[in-house]
């Protein structure tokens, strides 16, 4: 299993250069059965990363470009009257695939956003009082442009909380960018071979669930979460969903590190990605600095 994992990271490193940390965090979200929110400026490789993930994992993939006039039916699908059979037949929308890339999610209206987010939470969609189960595993990668850009509907806190992790890719290192400029980077249409199968991914997810987490580490997570609830600089503290996500993410990170037990280091590694978009600091703090501050202030229990 660890062998496959190594191949997977190497394969993904081939797709997007110089972003090992982000690749690992994205894998961590997948192993934890969580959804991913990529937030960055246009042209930073968000789409490339999600494309690469879908192909290396050998999963079906759909991309939805969100615009301000996108409607829920465009995502979920709709019942259309069939004149030959004289009845309604359901046409599945793009959400019925294993990996869904919701590009520029904050450009669509709140109604459309919540249609997607509801499907993410329930794992199934209801249309015309009929329930349709989404394929397994189901993984949503949403991208959004930074909030201050014009023409955006920012996701409310309650919906942000449903994303397991928020990542920003950031600018690539100089030498990686040099390769990209020279045209030696990954070709857009180059086909990537699947490295692991869906069942293998599910096996890995089950393995992650069984990784043991010691009491001291749980205490550490609790201490981190509790601090946000007593801090006056934070108006929106971390929810229990965040603490569960922290434990799960730390387990996945430990698995990626090749261990079958969790250490406080794992919690620290995933803390910023999991918690940044869930805390809401006062104006003069940035979310990132608040998370770093929390990590610095909480003593790791012995």
């Amino acid at each position: 299993m660890q062998e496959k994992l190594k191949q997977l990271t190497l394969g993904l490193a081939d797709v997007i250069y110089g972003k090992e940390q982000q690749i690992k965090l994205a894998l961590c979200a997948m192993l934890s059965r969580g959804h991913l929110l990529l937030e960055d400026l246009p042209g930073m490789g968000k789409t490339t990363l999600s494309h690469g993930l879908a192909q290396t994992l050998g999963m079906s993939y759909q991309r939805i470009q969100f615009t301000s006039d996108l409607l829920p039916a465009d995502i979920l699908g709709a019942s259309i009257f069939n004149t030959k059979e004289h009845k309604f037949t359901f046409h599945k929308g793009p959400i019925f695939s294993q990996i869904v890339l919701a590009d520029e999610i904050n450009r669509a209206g709140p109604k459309t956003q919540s249609a997607l987010l509801e499907a993410m939470e329930e794992g199934c969609v209801s249309i015309d009082s009929e329930r349709y189960t989404l394929p397994e595993p189901f993984f949503v990668i949403a991208t959004q442009n930074p909030q201050h850009q014009s023409g955006t509907f920012p996701l409310p806190e309650s919906q942000l909380d449903r994303f397991f992790m928020r990542l920003s890719l950031g600018f690539p290192p100089a030498d990686a960018e040099k390769l990209l400029i020279k045209g030696l980077g990954p070709q857009r249409h180059k086909s990537i071979e699947p490295i692991i199968s869906c069942t293998e991914l599910q096996q890995m997810q089950n393995h992650v669930d069984n990784i043991s987490i010691a009491n001291t580490v749980v205490d550490y997570i609790l201490a981190l979460v509790t601090l946000t609830r007593h801090d006056r600089d934070i108006t929106h503290p971390l929810s229990p969903r965040a603490s569960i996500a922290l434990a799960q993410g730390a387990k996945a990170w430990a698995f990626l590190e090749g261990r079958d037990y969790v250490m406080p280091e794992d919690v620290q590694a995933v803390f910023s990605s999991i918690c940044e978009h869930r805390v809401n600091p006062h104006d003069n703090y940035s979310q990132a600095s608040v998370c770093d501050d929390i990590l610095r202030r909480v003593k790791v229990p012995l």
Partner: protein
């Protein structure tokens, strides 16, 4: 680990079922045992558990069996079995740790149901073992990695619980039950309202304790005839208990009753109580009835004790009505017995002479005492016994003798009760067991009721003590007994052991089970002095509240400083390093801090690597350190502290 909990729970339920085996119908018992074994198999082989539908069907089937085999009137038994069934089925389903925790909570109740039927010291000890096993299972579910650790934790908590329980027993005010189910109508007895010994082939007697008698003086001497009830009419085959309702005695002359004893009754659903000769009891819930007998006001199935005052039966003339009542017989039947009685009466001219003729007859005409008589069926069973088989136990002799007396006009009645009792060592109490059950005759000689016991001439040894102590009958007696320690009483050491256990059990019954409101009040009065006695309950409640408060404070403080072994070692090391300002100024994780020490203080490198290995193993991997590793860990920490210092 959850497999361990599941198997442990199966064993506990098998144990509970075995303890209640006498109460449960055989069919239900074997079905439930099978379910337990099935669960044991599932837990150890890791097979898939039955689906919801299958378990529901099973539950319905078990309920049907329950309602068919158990009488609906036995509500307590019904509820107990339903609880057991539900818990065992839940156990069969329980897969996750959380479900098993639910079953464990249920099991705390299931185990306690044993006390509805048994309260002896041994059952208490067994129940204690169940509770320890249960808490071990609980501890292992809560993530204690090894069974040994779980066991230590469990026994530790039990050790805390025992003094607490003792404190509660002594000090917590005893209150009457707020509500009560009708008593468990299941207690067994060696006595029966109908004495019909003739179709019994083998008298299998149980070695269950019936009661203990503690004499307050030394005036009682054997033989001890414990009277329980009178059988006053003969229906042609058997002697039947008096049907007329008992009437209360008025104007009891208390000082005349010079004998005094305390009776500790075991669990029983029977109304009758036991007395020596003519007995009365001042206890409020005992009815003193005619013929010097006692009845229980409210026979419910819990241990019961009462003070007994007794004296020999006094002369009392019979009224005309009573004379007729005690001499009536069926007109027909058993002609040989009637003839024999007539012949014996012809030899003698008064009642006393007739009685001694009867004794002589039994003594010299080849009658023997046995627990395995030849069964006699059909009519005229008394004749067949008298002339053909001539082998029998107390019931046979008493039936025949009373019949013969009545046939010649001597008022007679059958008494059943217990004879003797086991006197353990030099103590002043007797233990009376079911196998001491006895029947004898009382006849009226014109002045008073006299005792006639044919067993005394057929098997005179029987009078001197308990049946278990009669040498001649021992082989036969043991062969008829259920398997138990008593069966092995031939071995000296085992007999000694049995007697010691019996002594402990006596103390348990007297001091723990018998510790009632009255004893508690007396104890508190002695402890606090009589002037505070009226406030005693308030004082006790305040005292207990104080104790609990102190425990609460201590335990909350205790929790803060609780560190594991490896955490303590690391804290020690970091303290030392901090004093020499070797620690990183940043907030680091323990392992990162160790790495920092290793890189910034090269002379500590090897030690730090070793410490971090041990620490990771113990804390994060949750693999307990062996004894050797612990001592190595301690050594290497001390060494590094020395290097730092």
């Amino acid at each position: 680990m959850s497999n361990f909990a599941s198997s442990a729970l199966s064993f506990i339920y098998i144990g509970i079922l075995m303890m209640l085996s006498a109460e449960l119908p055989t069919m239900l018992l074997s079905l439930l045992l099978l379910l337990c074994l099935w669960n044991l198999l599932l837990a150890n082989k890791g097979l898939t558990r039955p689906a919801m539908l299958a378990t529901n069907l099973l539950a319905a089937a078990l309920l049907a069996v329950l309602f068919i085999t158990v009488n609906l009137k036995q509500s307590v038994l019904l509820f107990v079995i339903m609880l057991l069934q539900a818990s065992i089925l839940k156990l069969l389903q329980a897969e996750s740790a959380k479900q098993q925790q639910t079953v464990i909570v249920l099991t705390f109740f299931s185990i306690s149901t044993v006390f509805l039927y048994q309260q002896s010291l041994y059952s208490t000890l067994l129940v204690g073992v169940f509770f320890v096993t249960l808490t071990i299972a609980l501890a292992s579910l809560n993530g204690l990695p090894t069974t040994r650790l779980a066991m230590r934790k469990s026994i530790y908590s039990l050790c805390i619980a025992v003094p607490l329980a003792a404190l509660m027993l002594v000090f917590v005010p005893k209150m009457p039950a707020f509500w009560q189910l009708p008593g468990a109508n299941t207690a067994k007895t060696g006595l029966n309202e109908r004495v019909d010994p003739f179709d019994i082939a083998s008298l299998a007697k149980s070695d269950e304790l019936v009661f203990r008698a503690e004499f307050n003086d030394d005036q009682a001497a054997p033989p001890y005839y414990w009277r329980a009830m009178l059988h006053t009419s003969f229906d042609g085959k058997a002697w039947v208990k008096e049907k007329a309702p008992a009437y209360e005695r008025q104007n009891i002359d208390w000082p005349a009753y010079t004998g005094s004893a305390q009776i500790y009754l075991e669990k029983s659903a029977n109304p009758w109580l036991y007395t020596l000769g003519d007995g009365v009891s001042p206890a409020a819930d005992v009815r003193n009835i005619n013929d010097g007998l006692l009845l229980r006001q409210d026979p419910s199935a819990s241990n019961f004790k009462y003070p007994l005052r007794y004296r020999p039966q006094l002369p009392a003339a019979l009224s005309q009505y009573e004379y007729r009542y005690y001499t009536q017989l069926p007109l027909q039947g058993n002609p040989l017995a009637r003839n024999l009685a007539k012949r014996l009466l012809a030899k003698s001219d008064n009642v006393d002479a007739f009685i001694s003729e009867l004794y002589e007859h039994y003594r010299y005409q080849g009658f023997t005492y046995t627990l395995t008589p030849t069964p006699i069926t059909g009519s005229n069973s008394l004749d067949i016994f008298l002339t053909q088989t001539q082998r029998g136990f107390c019931g046979h002799y008493a039936s025949v003798s009373a019949f013969m007396m009545r046939s010649v006009g001597i008022p007679a009645r059958l008494v059943s009760g217990y004879l003797g009792g086991e006197n353990v060592g030099d103590s002043n109490y007797l233990s009376v067991y079911q196998y001491d059950a006895h029947a004898w005759v009382e006849y009226h000689d014109g002045e008073q009721w006299q005792r006639f016991d044919a067993t005394s001439v057929v098997a005179p040894e029987r009078l001197n003590g308990s049946l278990s102590q009669v040498d001649q009958l021992q082989q036969e007696f043991r062969a008829n007994l259920d398997l138990g320690l008593l069966q092995l009483s031939g071995f000296k050491s085992l007999n000694w052991l049995r007697i010691q256990l019996e002594k402990i059990d006596y103390r348990w019954t007297k001091w723990v089970l018998g510790f009632d409101q009255e004893k508690q009040n007396n104890f508190l009065k002695e402890l606090l002095g009589s002037q505070f006695a009226q406030y005693s309950m308030a004082l006790v409640v305040i005292g207990i509240a104080l104790v609990l408060f102190v425990i609460l404070i201590l335990s909350s403080r205790h929790r803060k400083v609780q560190l594991t072994f490896s955490a303590k070692q690391l804290a020690k090391l970091f303290n030392a390093a901090d004093n020499s300002s070797l620690l990183s100024p940043e907030q680091l994780t323990p392992v990162a801090q160790l790495n920092y020490l290793a890189t910034h203080t090269p002379r500590l490198k090897t030690q730090m690597e070793q410490i971090s290995r041990f620490y990771i193993q113990a804390t994060y991997e949750q693999k307990p350190l062996t004894k050797k590793q612990r001592s190595e860990f301690r050594k290497v920490v001390n060494k590094s502290i020395k290097i730092i210092g």
